[in-house]
C-alpha cells in the first residue's frame, strides 16, 4: 500500500470515530427527527403558533370613496373594509390604530385607475394579507349587478395558474412541486451540501496538521514520508471524511422527507446531469484549493487556534458570494456574479450558487474552471514550500520574510 493511502486511511479511521465528528454528523439528522416528532405530537398547535407569529392580525382597512362606486361597502366586504367620509377622519382612525391602512379612491378613478394607499408601517395590510382582496373589492364596485356573476368572479380572480416544466425531449414532467424541487431546490441544496463538505473537510485538514505540529509528532512522520506525500494523504483521507458527513446528512434528509428527497436527487441526475457533474467538479477543485490553503495555515500557526485565525481570512473570502446572494438569485449573470466566478477564492462558491439557477453562459464556466486549474497548482506549489518551513517552527510563527525565502528556495 502506498504511503499516501496509509496516511489517508489512518486519517479517515482516526477522525471518523472522534466524538466531535460523530456528534456533528448526527446532530443534523437528530434535529430532523426532533422536528418530525414535534410535528407529529403537536402538529396542530405548532402550526397555529407559527401562523400567529408570521401572519399579521387581519385588520380592517379604511376606504375614502370620492368616486361613488364603493360606498356603501357591500356586505361581503364589510368585515374587511370600513368607509370614511374624508381623508382626515380616515387618517385619525389610522393614527389611533383603529384601522391598519386606508385607501383613497379619487373621483376620476374610472378614467385614471389611480388610488392612494395610506399606511404607517410601510406595508399595506390590504395587499399583504390577501393580494386578491383589494382587486376583488374594486372589480365588484365597478361591475356588480351589471354583468353575470360568473364573469364578475372571473374578473376578480382571472387566473389559477399551473406551471408545467418540459424536459429536454419536450415531455412535461409530472407534478409541479417535483419539477421545482428537481430543477432548483435539490440542485441548490446539493450545492450547499458540497460547499459545507469543502469547508468541513478543509477544517479537519487544518486541525489535523495543527494538532500534529502542536504534539510534535510531525517530524517523526516527516522522517518516513515527504511533505507532499503527507499533504496528499491528508487531503484524500479528510476529503473522504467530509463527504461521509455530507452523505449521511443527505441520506438522513431523504429518509426524513419520506423519499421525496431521493426522488428529487434522482431527478437532478436525470434532468440535468451536466450541472450535477459540474457541481462535483467545483467541489473537487474547491476542496483542493481550500484544503491546501487550510493545510498551509495549519502548518504556519503555532497552535490550532492561531491556525484557525489565519484560515479565517480565506474562509471569509469564500463566503463573499453569499453576501451577494440576493443579486445572484435575481440575476445569476450579473456583472458581480461573473466577476466573482473568475476570482479563484470565490469561484467555487459562486459557481455552486449560480449553476442551480440555470442559464450560466458556457464562457463563464470555462473561464472559472481555467482560473481554478491554473491557481490550484500555484497554491499547491507555494503551500508545499511554506508547509515545509512552517511545520518545523515550534512556538514561533514564520515571518513574511521567512515565507518569501521559502517560496524562493528550490
Amino acid at each position: 500500500m502506498s504511503k499516501v493511502w496509509i496516511i489517508a486511511s489512518h486519517e479517515y479511521i482516526v477522525n471518523v470515530r472522534r466524538i466531535g465528528f460523530i456528534f456533528v454528523t448526527l446532530l443534523f439528522p437528530a434535529l430532523g427527527v426532533i422536528g418530525l416528532v414535534i410535528g407529529a405530537l403537536f402538529g396542530g398547535q405548532a402550526t397555529k403558533l407559527l401562523n400567529s407569529q408570521f401572519t399579521p392580525q387581519a385588520r380592517q382597512a379604511g376606504i375614502v370613496d370620492h368616486s361613488g362606486f364603493y360606498t356603501p361597502i357591500p356586505a361581503q366586504f364589510a368585515s374587511r373594509f370600513i368607509a370614511f367620509p374624508d381623508e382626515a377622519t380616515a387618517k385619525a382612525a389610522l393614527l389611533s390604530d383603529k384601522i391598519g391602512s386606508f385607501v383613497v379612491i379619487p373621483s376620476d378613478y374610472l378614467a385614471t385607475g389611480k388610488i392612494t394607499n395610506y399606511t404607517q408601517a410601510g406595508f399595506s395590510n390590504i395587499t399583504n394579507d390577501d393580494p386578491n382582496l383589494l382587486r376583488a373589492f374594486l372589480v365588484n364596485g365597478l361591475l356588480a349587478g351589471k354583468v353575470d356573476p360568473a364573469y364578475l368572479a372571473r374578473a376578480s380572480k382571472p387566473a389559477d395558474s399551473t406551471l408545467v416544466t418540459l424536459d429536454s425531449t419536450g415531455k412535461p414532467t409530472t407534478g409541479v412541486g417535483l419539477a421545482i424541487i428537481a430543477g432548483f431546490v435539490a440542485p441548490y441544496f446539493f450545492s450547499i451540501m458540497l460547499f459545507i463538505a469543502v469547508f468541513s473537510s478543509s477544517g479537519y485538514l487544518l486541525r489535523s496538521i495543527a494538532d500534529e505540529k502542536e504534539t510534535r509528532v510531525i517530524e517523526i512522520v516527516l522522517s518516513s514520508v515527504s511533505p507532499p506525500e503527507l499533504l496528499a494523504g491528508k487531503v484524500i483521507g479528510l476529503g473522504a471524511l467530509g463527504l461521509t458527513q455530507v452523505t449521511i446528512w443527505l441520506l438522513s434528509s431523504f429518509v426524513l422527507s419520506g423519499g421525496l428527497g431521493a426522488i428529487a436527487a434522482g431527478a437532478v441526475l436525470v434532468l440535468n446531469p451536466g450541472n450535477f457533474l459540474l457541481a462535483a467538479l467545483y467541489f473537487l477543485l474547491g476542496y483542493l484549493l481550500f484544503g491546501t490553503i487550510m493545510a498551509t495555515a495549519g502548518a504556519l500557526g503555532t497552535n490550532p487556534r492561531e491556525s484557525q485565525q489565519l484560515a479565517g481570512i480565506f474562509s471569509f473570502a469564500a463566503a463573499i458570494p453569499w453576501f451577494f446572494a440576493g443579486i445572484l438569485f435575481t440575476n445569476p449573470n450579473a456583472p458581480i456574479a461573473r466577476a466573482l466566478s473568475i476570482f479563484p477564492l470565490t469561484a467555487p462558491t459562486t459557481m455552486m450558487l449560480r449553476l442551480p439557477l440555470g442559464g450560466v453562459p458556457a464562457i463563464d464556466i470555462i473561464a472559472s474552471l481555467i482560473v481554478l486549474l491554473i491557481s490550484i497548482p500555484v497554491v499547491i506549489w507555494a503551500g508545499a514550500r511554506i508547509f515545509r518551513v512552517g511545520l518545523l517552527m515550534y512556538g514561533k510563527r514564520a515571518s513574511v520574510k521567512e515565507i518569501v525565502s521559502a517560496l524562493k528556495s528550490a
Partner: protein
C-alpha cells in the same frame, strides 16, 4: 557494502542571517556509535534534519546509506529533538501506523511493536491511549517508534533529553544493544558527559563549524593533562613531583610537575609506602576539552 554510512561534505545552511551549518564535513562509519556534540544552537539538529531530507541544504553534499537524503528513508530510524505522539491514539495503533509508514506490513509492525514494548517493560500499556502514559513511558514509545522497522542507521537527536537517570540507563542499554546487532548509531547531545561513555567517534561543533572531529580516545589522549587520579586521597605537601591536587568524591586528582612521568610518580609513592587502592591516568572531560578549544579559538579537523 559501503562502510561509510553517512558522508557529509562542505555542508552549508543559513536561516536568513543566521549561519546554522558552516562548511561541515564528516563521515559516520558502519557499526559505530557516532556522537554529534555541541551546545544548544550549535547546528546539530539542522545537520540531522538535512540528513533526514526534512530541510534542504544551501550548499555542499550529503549521502546517507549511499544515497542522497530522502531516498533510503525506510532504512533509517529517527528520533527527532522535537518529538511527540498522537495523544488520543492507543500505543499499539501509534506504533503500527508509524511502522507502516516505514514500509512494514501491518502484521509485522504489530508483532515487532509487541516485542519492543516488552523489551522496555511497557507490555501492559499496549492498549492504553498515549495520553495515559507518563512522560518517561511516552519517551520510550517514541524510541521504539524510531527503531520498530529494524533500521540499518539510527539517528537519535538528543535522546536523553527530559529522561530521568533510570530511563537514561534504559535508553543507553538499548543503544548498546543496537550497536551489538551491528546497527550504526548517530546521536546528538548537548550534555557531553552523558554520551562520552557511549561514542566511539565524535564531531564537536560550535556555531555550525567543526571544532573537534575524530576517535574519542585520540581526542582524549590529545587533551590529556599530565595528571593521575588516585584513591584514597593523601597529603603531598613538599613533593617535588606534585604541582597541585584536587579532591572530589574520595578521589584525588594530582597534577604532576613538568617532566615527571606518571610511572615515576607511582614508583616514588610506593617506595614511600602510600597504600594506594586505585591508580589511573586522569583524562579531561569532553565538556572541558570543548571549552578549552573554543576559548583558545583552536579548531582541529582531521577529516
Amino acid at each position: 557494502m559501503d562502510d561509510l554510512v553517512v558522508q557529509v561534505d562542505q555542508l552549508q545552511k543559513s536561516f536568513n542571517s543566521l549561519v546554522a551549518v558552516d562548511h561541515l564535513t564528516f563521515q559516520v562509519n558502519r557499526g559505530e556509535i557516532f556522537g554529534l556534540l555541541g551546545p544548544n544552537g550549535a547546528g546539530k539538529t539542522t545537520t540531522i534534519r538535512i540528513l533526514m531530507d526534512i530541510i534542504k541544504p544551501d550548499a555542499g553534499a550529503a549521502r546517507v546509506l549511499g544515497n542522497p537524503p530522502g531516498v533510503a528513508r525506510e532504512r533509517i530510524g529517527y528520533l527527532p529533538e522535537e518529538r511527540g505522539l498522537y495523544r488520543g491514539l492507543r500505543v499499539d495503533e501509534t506504533l503500527v501506523y508509524l511502522g507502516e509508514l516505514k514500509g512494514m506490513s501491518r502484521a509485522t509492525a504489530r508483532k515487532r511493536a509487541t516485542e519492543l514494548l516488552a523489551r522496555v517493560e511497557l507490555s501492559e500499556w499496549t492498549r492504553n491511549k498515549v495520553q495515559e502514559l507518563s512522560r518517561g513511558m511516552q519517551q520510550k514509545v517514541q524510541i521504539i517508534a524510531s527503531i520498530i522497522h529494524d533500521p540499518d542507521l539510527v539517528i537519535l537527536d538528543e535522546p536523553f533529553q527530559g529522561l530521568d537517570p533510570v530511563n537514561v540507563e534504559v535508553v543507553k542499554d538499548l543503544i548498546r544493544d543496537l550497536r551489538a546487532q551491528g546497527k550504526t548509531i548517530a546521536l546528538s547531545a548537548h550534555e557531553m558527559s552523558q554520551v562520552e561513555v557511549l561514542c566511539e567517534r565524535i564531531l564537536l561543533i560550535d556555531h555550525g563549524k567543526a571544532v573537534l572531529y575524530g576517535a574519542l580516545s585520540d581526542i582524549k589522549k590529545q587533551f590529556s593533562p599530565n595528571a593521575i587520579e588516585i584513591t584514597p586521597p593523601f597529603s603531598f605537601d613538599g613533593w617535588r613531583e606534585v604541582e597541585r591536587t584536587e579532591t572530589h568524591d574520595h578521589k584525588q586528582l594530582i597534577y604532576l610537575t613538568k617532566g615527571t612521568a606518571p610511572r615515576e610518580f607511582l614508583k616514588t609513592a610506593l617506595e614511600r609506602g602510600l597504600a594506594i587502592d586505585q591508580f589511573e591516568m586522569a583524562s579531561m572531560p569532553l565538556e572541558q576539552i570543548f571549552v578549552q578549544v573554543v576559548t583558545e579559538g583552536r579548531t582541529t579537523n582531521d577529516g
